[in-house]
C-alpha cells in the first residue's frame, strides 16, 4: 500500500471578499452564500431546504436574515455575499429572529408532531430547530391537513406525506445529483406533496440518500422503518465493502445487530452520498454464517475444533507446498490479501495466486502488473471533476462503481467534462453523464481503441484527461494492450476501476502471481530482496518465477497438476467458466476454504475455517483511486478471526513464522516497504483484431442490484433491481420480426427474456450477467463477447 497524494498540486489563489456576520468580520471566497459564511463563524442559521451539495431553492424561508440595505429579510441560503456586506442573523437581528420564528411556527402547523412514533425523532432537523428557534407554544388550534399514509415511492422508499415540509431536497437530489427525476412535487398550497408519476416508481440506485437528507421523517426506508430509535444506536465509521468506489459510511447497530448504514461525509470520495446497495445490503452479514471449523472425514464434513482443523490444514498444505494455488477473491481487505500474498510465497513457496474471481486474462494481469499495481494515487475523484475528457473502456459506472458515476455526472454538468464510453450499449447511465457512445462489440474493445477518431485522440491528449478501464477489459483480447498504448500515445492518465472493493487492495498487496506487495515484480531481484527483509525470510526462499493465475491456475487445479488449493471469499459462480471453476475445486486434492458463510465451495472443501465478516474486523479497502479507506471494527466483542489471523495460525502449525497477523502489525510491516522505485513489468502488446461476422455477441456486466450473495436478506432492495431484459439493436429486432421476447441460447442452455429495442448495437445483445432469471455464465454458459443464438420467441 502506497500512501501518496497529489500534495504538490498547485492551488489557485482564491478571490475573497470581506463581510460582517453579526458584526464579526470574515473573509470568504467570492460567491459564498451568507449561510456558509455564518457557518464559518460557528453561527448556525436554521435551514431545511438548504443543502450544500444542492442548488439553492430558498423555498422553506427558515434561514431569513437581515442584510443591511435590503428592505426585506433575505434567505441566507441563496444570498451571495458581497464586499462589505453587513449580515445580521437571529443572533443580532430581532427582525431575523422574529422572521425565523414565524417560519418555524408555520412549518409546524400542518406537521403531525408524531415525533414519538417517527423514525426521525431524536435526529430530526425539524425537531431540533423547532426547539432552538421555534416558539414554545403553538398558536394553531385548527385542523391539520392529513394524507393516507404511507405510500411507496419505490419498493425501498416510503413516504409519509403529512410530515413533509416541502423543502424539495429529495426532488432536487433526484434531479440534480442522481439524474433520476422521478420524484416531483405535486399539487398546490398546503396540499403540495412529493410523489411520482403513476406506475413510475422512484427507480434510482441512489434513492436511499433522499431518506438521509430528508429534514423530517417524511421519507423512510422499508428496511429501517420502525426498527429502532437513533439514540439507542451505536455508530461506527466504516467503509463500504460492496464496490471500489470506497464510500465512507456510518454503520449503526443495536444489541449486536446492524440496523442501518448511512453515507458519511467525505468530500474527497463520496461527498455525502452512497448507493442503495451500500446503504441497504448488509443483512447478509448475519445470515448463513459458518459457526465452527469443519474437517472432511470419510467423505463427509464434520465439525472440528480449531486446533484440529488448523492442524489438518497445515499438514495438507505442508505436503502440497509450492504445488498449491491460492484464490483470494476480490472481497478481502488489504490486510487480509496481504496475508494471503505473504502466506503463499513464504509458507507455501508458491506464486500461484490470483484475486480475480471473475473473467480474467493473462493480458489483463500484464496490464495490472505494468501500469496499476502499487502506483500512487494519481487520478482522483477531484481530478475527474477537472478532466476535459474521460474515456470509459469496458466499464459501466452506474452499475459497477456508482459513486464514481455520480462524480462523472457532476463533472459533465459542472465542468463540461466530455464523457465517452467504448461499449456496445448506450446506457441510461451514459446519457445521464451526457456521454457519447463509441461503439465497440463486446470483446473487441481493443480494435475500437486502435481505430479511434482523431477528434477523440485530440480530446484525450488534452492535459488532465483520464482513461477509466474496467475489469471487463479482460474479456477483450488485445484490449488491455490497446488501453496501455492509448494512454502512452495520448498522455491521458490511466485508472483501473475493478468492481469489487478488495481488488485494488489485493493487487497492491501482491495477491496476484508475479506481483509482490507494492507492485514489485517477483522476477526482480531487488524487489524480492526488499520484500524478504520485511517478511523476515531469506530472499532465496521466495519464488523467482511468475506463477499461475487466472484460467491457467484453474486448469492446473482441474487437471490435478496442483496438489492443493487455498480458497477465500470466492464463489464458483464468480468465474467466467463456472464448470471449470467447479471442477477445479472438486478436482483439487486438498482444499482449504476460509469463509464466513456456507457456500458451494465450503461444501467441497477438505477443511473449512470460519472467518470474520467485514463488521467483525478492522481493515482497509483501496478504492479505485488507490486511496486507502481504513475502517474500524463494528462489533468489538466479535469472536470471529480475520483471514490474516487464521493464516497465521496455519503457518505457525506448519512451523513457519510469517510475521504480523493483526491489522496494525500488517499495516506497519507493509508500510515499511515504501513505494517501489525499480523497473516495472512491460505493458502487454497483444494485437487486437476485429472479427466481422454475422454472430451475435454477448455484452454483459453485473447490474448494481442483482443476485449477488452480499445482497441476500434484503427483499426491499432486491425489488428495486432493474428489470431483466435482453437489449438488442433495432435492426436485429426488425430482422426477428420485432418480437416482445427473444430466446437466447448458449452452450449451457436457453433463456427467454423480454426485449429492449435499442439496448445494444448491431451484432451485440445485452444480457445482465447475474440477475434474477438471467446468468450468462450459469444459464447460457457463455462469457462476455461469446456468441449466442437469438430467436424470436416466448410470450
Amino acid at each position: 500500500m502506497t500512501i501518496t497524494s497529489n500534495a504538490n498540486a498547485e492551488v489557485a489563489p482564491v478571490e475573497t471578499v470581506s463581510v460582517f456576520v453579526d458584526g464579526v468580520a470574515i473573509d470568504v471566497p467570492k460567491g459564498t452564500l451568507a449561510i456558509r459564511a455564518a457557518e464559518l463563524l460557528g453561527i448556525e442559521i436554521p435551514r431545511f431546504c438548504d443543502h450544500p451539495l444542492l442548488d439553492p431553492v430558498a423555498a422553506c424561508r427558515a434561514c431569513l436574515i437581515e442584510v443591511e440595505g435590503m428592505p426585506k429579510p433575505q434567505p441566507a441560503c441563496a444570498q451571495v455575499v458581497a464586499e462589505g456586506m453587513q449580515i445580521r442573523t437571529q443572533m443580532s437581528s430581532p427582525v431575523a429572529k422574529e422572521a425565523q420564528e414565524g417560519v418555524m411556527e408555520f412549518l409546524l402547523l400542518n406537521h403531525p408532531l408524531d415525533c414519538p412514533v417517527c423514525d426521525k425523532g431524536g435526529e430530526c432537523p425539524l425537531q431540533n430547530q423547532a426547539m432552538s428557534v421555534g416558539r414554545p407554544e403553538s398558536r394553531f388550534d385548527g385542523e391539520k391537513r392529513t394524507f393516507p399514509k404511507p405510500i411507496n415511492v419505490s419498493a425501498e422508499i416510503l413516504l409519509d406525506r403529512e410530515r413533509c415540509v416541502s423543502c424539495a431536497r429529495c426532488t432536487r437530489f433526484a434531479d440534480q445529483i442522481a439524474g433520476d427525476p422521478m420524484l416531483e412535487l405535486l399539487e398546490r398550497g398546503a396540499k403540495q406533496q412529493v410523489g411520482t408519476a403513476e406506475d413510475e416508481p422512484f427507480d434510482s440506485y441512489f434513492s436511499g440518500n433522499t431518506v438521509q437528507i430528508c429534514p423530517v421523517g417524511a421519507l423512510t426506508s422499508a428496511s429501517y422503518r420502525f426498527r429502532s430509535r437513533p439514540f439507542d444506536l451505536v455508530s461506527v465509521p466504516t467503509t463500504c465493502e460492496h464496490c471500489a468506489s470506497g464510500c465512507s459510511l456510518r454503520t449503526d447497530y443495536r444489541r449486536g445487530t446492524i440496523t442501518r448504514r448511512l453515507a458519511w461525509d467525505d468530500p474527497q470520495v463520496n461527498e455525502e452520498w452512497n448507493c442503495d446497495k451500500g446503504r441497504f445490503a448488509f443483512a447478509y452479514l448475519d445470515e448463513g454464517r459458518l459457526s465452527n471449523p469443519l474437517v472432511r472425514e470419510n467423505g463427509e464434513l464434520r465439525p472440528a475444533s480449531w486446533p484440529e482443523a488448523v492442524a489438518v490444514a497445515a499438514k495438507g498444505l505442508a505436503a502440497a507446498g509450492a504445488s498449491t494455488g491460492v484464490l483470494t477473491g476480490g472481497r478481502l481487505t488489504y490486510e487480509d490479501a496481504y496475508a494471503y500474498a505473504r502466506f503463499a510465497r513464504v509458507a507455501l513457496g508458491s506464486d500461484n495466486i490470483d484475486f480475480r474471481a471473475r473473467e480474467s486474462s493473462e493480458e489483463e494481469a500484464d496490464l495490472l502488473r505494468a501500469s496499476i499495481a502499487g502506483t500512487p494515487v494519481g487520478s482522483t475523484y477531484a481530478a475527474l471533476e477537472q478532466a476535459p475528457a474521460v474515456l470509459l473502456v469496458a466499464f459501466e459506472p452506474e452499475d459497477e462503481s456508482p459513486i464514481l458515476f455520480l462524480r462523472l455526472r457532476k463533472a459533465a454538468q459542472r465542468s463540461g467534462t466530455r464523457v465517452m464510453g467504448v461499449a456496445a450499449v448506450a446506457t441510461r447511465g451514459l446519457a445521464k453523464m451526457r456521454g457519447t457512445l463509441i461503439p465497440a462489440l463486446p470483446g473487441q474493445e481493443g480494435s475500437a481503441l486502435t481505430s479511434l477518431d482523431s477528434s477523440v485522440i485530440d480530446l484525450l491528449s488534452t492535459p488532465g484527461s483520464v482513461i477509466l478501464v474496467g475489469e471487463r477489459i479482460a474479456a477483450a483480447p488485445g484490449g488491455p494492450s490497446a488501453v496501455a498504448a492509448l494512454a502512452e500515445r495520448t498522455g491521458a492518465a490511466l485508472a483501473w476501476v475493478p468492481r469489487r472493493a478488495g481488488e485494488r487492495g489485493a493487487l497492491d498487496a501482491g495477491a496476484l502471481a508475479g506481483v509482490l506487495p507494492g507492485g514489485r515484480p517477483i522476477t526482480d531481484e531487488r524487489a524480492r530482496e526488499e520484500v524478504s527483509q520485511v517478511w523476515g525470510v531469506a530472499s532465496s526462499d521466495l519464488p523467482t518465477a511468475v506463477g499461475l493465475s487466472g484460467d491457467a491456475l484453474l486448469d492446473a487445479a482441474r487437471s490435478g497438476s496442483l496438489a492443493a488449493l487455498v480458497v477465500a471469499g470466492v464463489e464458483a459462480a464468480d468465474f467466467g467458466d463456472v464448470t471449470a471453476a467447479r471442477e477445479a475445486i472438486a478436482g483439487s486434492g486438498f482444499v482449504v476454504s476460509l469463509e464466513h458463510h456456507h457456500s458451494e465451495i465450503t461444501a467441497l472443501a477438505d477443511v473449512v475455517l470460519p472467518v470474520a465478516v467485514v463488521s467483525e474486523k478492522a481493515g482497509t479497502f483501496l478504492d479505485w483511486e488507490g486511496r486507502p479507506r481504513p475502517f474500524g471494527q463494528v462489533f468489538r466483542d466479535a469472536l470471529a478471526m480475520s483471514d490474516a489471523t487464521v493464516l497465521g495460525m496455519i503457518a505457525e502449525a506448519m512451523g513457519i513464522s510469517t510475521g504480523a497477523s493483526d491489522v496494525a502489525g500488517i499495516r506497519r510491516e507493509a508500510g515499511g516497504l515504501g513505494p517501489w522505485t525499480g523497473a516495472r513489468a512491460a505493458a502487454p502488446a497483444t494485437p487486437s483484431a476485429a472479427q466481422q461476422d454475422a454472430s451475435i455477441r454477448v455484452a454483459s456486466w453485473r447490474a448494481l442490484i442483482d443476485t449477488g450473495l452480499m445482497q441476500e436478506g434484503e427483499p426491499y432492495l432486491a425489488a428495486t433491481a432493474r428489470p431483466v431484459v435482453a437489449g438488442i439493436s433495432s435492426a436485429l429486432a426488425a430482422s426477428l420480426g420485432n418480437p416482445s421476447h427473444v430466446v437466447v441460447s448458449g452452450p449451457a442452455g436457453s433463456l427467454t427474456l423480454p426485449v429492449e429495442v435499442g439496448g445494444a448495437i448491431d451484432g451485440a445483445i445485452y444480457l445482465p450477467m447475474k440477475s434474477q432469471g438471467c446468468s450468462i455464465h450459469e444459464d447460457l454458459g457463455v462469457r462476455i463477447g461469446g456468441t449466442v443464438d437469438v430467436r424470436a420467441g416466448g410470450q
Partner: protein
C-alpha cells in the same frame, strides 16, 4: 377629467377585432414606421414616454427593455403575460377580445426593439374566447406578412406563439409563467438571475403585461409628447380602468392616470341605489383597501402609494354598505389559500392558517386574541414569502383592520351574515324573493 379612449377608442366598431377593421383606424401604421427605426431608438422612445408596466407593479417599461443584454449571441424572447387572474381585474381580457391587433402590433414592435425572434403570448386557459381572438389576430397578421420572415421587407423575422395556460394564479407571476411556458410545473424561480438576463430557456427575456404592450403602437405612432400630455410626471399616459362592483354602470373607462375614483364613479353611474362607498380597492385583491375618504386621491402610482395602497392593475372594485368586510377578506384569503403554489412556507402555511381563523370569524366564532394572531401571521407572510403573490396574501386583512376593526370585533359574537344580509349585497338583490 375627461376620458381619453385610445386602446378602447373604436371598441364600438363591430369588426375592430379583424385586421381590416384595425387597419381602418390606422392599425399597423406604427409598425411600418418602427421597422424603419433603429431598435434602440424605439427603446429610447418608450423610455422617454415614461410608460410604466400595467400588470400591477408599475415598473418602467423602457428601462426593463434596456436590461436585455445586446449582441450576446443568445436568442431573445418577448413573453406577454396575458394570464389575467387577479380577483377584480378585468381589463386585459377585454382588450384581447375587442382590440387584439393592438396587442399583436405591440408584440411585433416590442420584439423588434429588444431583438427577439420569438414572442409568446401566455393567455389564461379559462378564456377560450380571448385565446381564439388573439390566435386569429396572429394568424391574420402572419397572412398579411406582418409576422414571419422578412416582415414588410425589413429583413426582420419574428414568430409569435399563442400559448394557453391551465388556470393557476401563480402562473401570472412572471418567472412561474416562464416555467409553465417551458412545460414545467408553474412555480416562481429564484432571482437573480432575472428574466432580462436568463429568462425563457435561460435566455434574455422581456415579460410585459397585455395593456403595456397594447400601448406601444400608439406611443410609437403618436410620439412621446402626445403620450406625456396625459397623466402626471411620474405616471404618464392613460390607463384602462375596469370599474366593477356596486356601481350602476360597471365597465371599462380609459382615462389619464391621475383621474380620481370619484370621477370614475361618476362615469360608472355612481354607487347603485344611491348608496355610499364602504370600501374600494384600486387594483385587484392584492392591494390594500381604501374607503370613501380616499375617493379624491389621484389614481397614479405615486399617489396611491402615498395613500398606503397601490394602483395595482387599475381595476377598481367598489363595495357598498351592504358588504361585510369580514366576509370579503375571508373570500380573498380563501382565494390565496387555494392558489398558493406551495413552494414557500409562509404563503403555503400562512394562508392555510389565516383562512381557517377568518372562517371562524365569518361564522361568529372568533376571539379577540385571534385577531392579533391573524395580524401577526400576516406579518410573518408579508415580505418573507418567495414571490410577490405570497406577500399579497398578507395585504387584505391589515388594511381591513385599519378601517373596520369594529366589524371584526363584532364578528367574535355575530356572524357576518347576521351583521349584513348577504342577499342585500347581491348585484341582483332586488330579484331575490324570500
Amino acid at each position: 377629467m375627461p376620458l381619453t379612449p385610445v386602446i378602447t377608442e373604436h371598441w364600438d366598431a363591430p369588426d375592430l377585432y379583424t385586421i381590416d377593421g384595425y387597419r381602418r383606424f390606422g392599425g399597423y401604421r406604427a409598425l411600418q414606421g418602427a421597422l424603419k427605426k433603429d431598435p434602440d431608438a424605439i427603446i429610447g422612445m418608450v423610455k422617454d414616454s415614461g410608460l410604466r408596466g400595467r400588470g400591477g407593479a408599475g415598473f418602467p417599461t423602457g428601462l426593463k427593455w434596456s436590461f436585455v443584454p445586446q449582441n450576446d449571441g443568445k436568442p431573445h424572447y418577448l413573453v406577454v403575460n396575458a394570464d389575467e387572474s387577479e380577483p377584480g381585474a378585468c381589463k386585459d381580457i377585454p382588450i384581447m377580445m375587442a382590440n387584439p391587433h393592438a396587442l399583436v402590433e405591440g408584440v411585433i414592435i416590442t420584439s423588434y426593439a429588444i431583438r427577439a425572434g420569438h414572442a409568446f403570448i401566455y393567455i389564461r386557459g379559462e378564456v377560450p374566447n380571448a385565446i381564439r381572438k388573439v390566435a386569429n389576430a396572429v394568424r391574420q397578421a402572419r397572412e398579411a406578412g406582418l409576422i414571419g420572415k422578412n416582415i414588410l421587407g425589413s429583413g426582420y423575422d419574428l414568430e409569435v406563439v399563442v400559448h394557453s395556460g391551465a388556470g393557476a394564479y401563480i402562473c401570472g407571476e412572471e418567472t412561474a409563467l416562464l416555467d409553465s411556458l417551458e412545460g414545467y410545473r408553474g412555480q416562481p424561480r429564484l432571482k437573480p438571475p432575472f428574466p432580462a438576463v436568463a429568462g425563457l430557456y435561460a435566455s434574455p427575456t422581456v415579460i410585459n403585461n397585455v395593456e403595456t404592450i397594447a400601448n406601444i403602437p400608439y406611443i410609437v405612432d403618436r410620439g412621446v409628447d402626445w403620450f406625456r400630455q396625459f397623466g402626471t410626471e411620474k405616471s404618464p399616459g392613460f390607463k384602462v380602468f375596469a370599474v366593477s362592483g356596486h356601481v350602476n354602470r360597471p365597465g371599462i373607462f380609459e382615462a389619464p392616470l391621475g383621474i380620481t375614483m370619484r370621477e370614475l364613479l361618476g362615469y360608472a353611474g355612481g354607487v347603485r341605489g344611491g348608496g355610499e362607498v364602504k370600501f374600494w380597492l384600486p387594483g385587484g385583491s392584492s392591494v390594500p383597501m381604501l374607503t370613501s375618504e380616499h375617493l379624491d386621491v389621484p389614481m397614479t402610482y405615486e399617489d396611491m402609494a402615498a395613500a398606503g395602497t397601490m394602483l395595482g392593475t387599475g381595476t377598481p372594485m367598489i363595495f357598498d354598505q351592504t358588504v361585510s368586510v369580514v366576509k370579503a377578506v375571508t373570500r380573498w384569503l380563501e382565494f390565496y389559500k387555494h392558489e398558493s403554489c406551495g413552494k414557500c412556507t409562509p404563503c403555503r402555511e400562512g394562508t392555510y392558517w389565516i383562512t381557517g381563523m377568518l372562517e371562524k370569524f365569518e361564522h361568529g366564532h372568533g376571539s379577540a386574541e385571534e385577531l392579533d394572531t391573524i395580524a401577526s401571521a400576516c406579518l410573518q407572510i408579508g415580505g418573507r414569502s418567495f414571490c410577490a403573490l405570497g406577500d399579497a396574501a398578507a395585504t387584505p386583512y391589515p388594511a381591513a383592520m385599519k378601517f373596520f376593526r369594529d366589524e371584526f370585533i363584532a364578528a367574535t359574537q355575530t356572524s357576518a351574515d347576521e351583521q349584513f344580509d348577504p342577499v342585500a349585497s347581491y348585484v341582483f338583490a332586488g330579484a331575490v324573493t324570500r
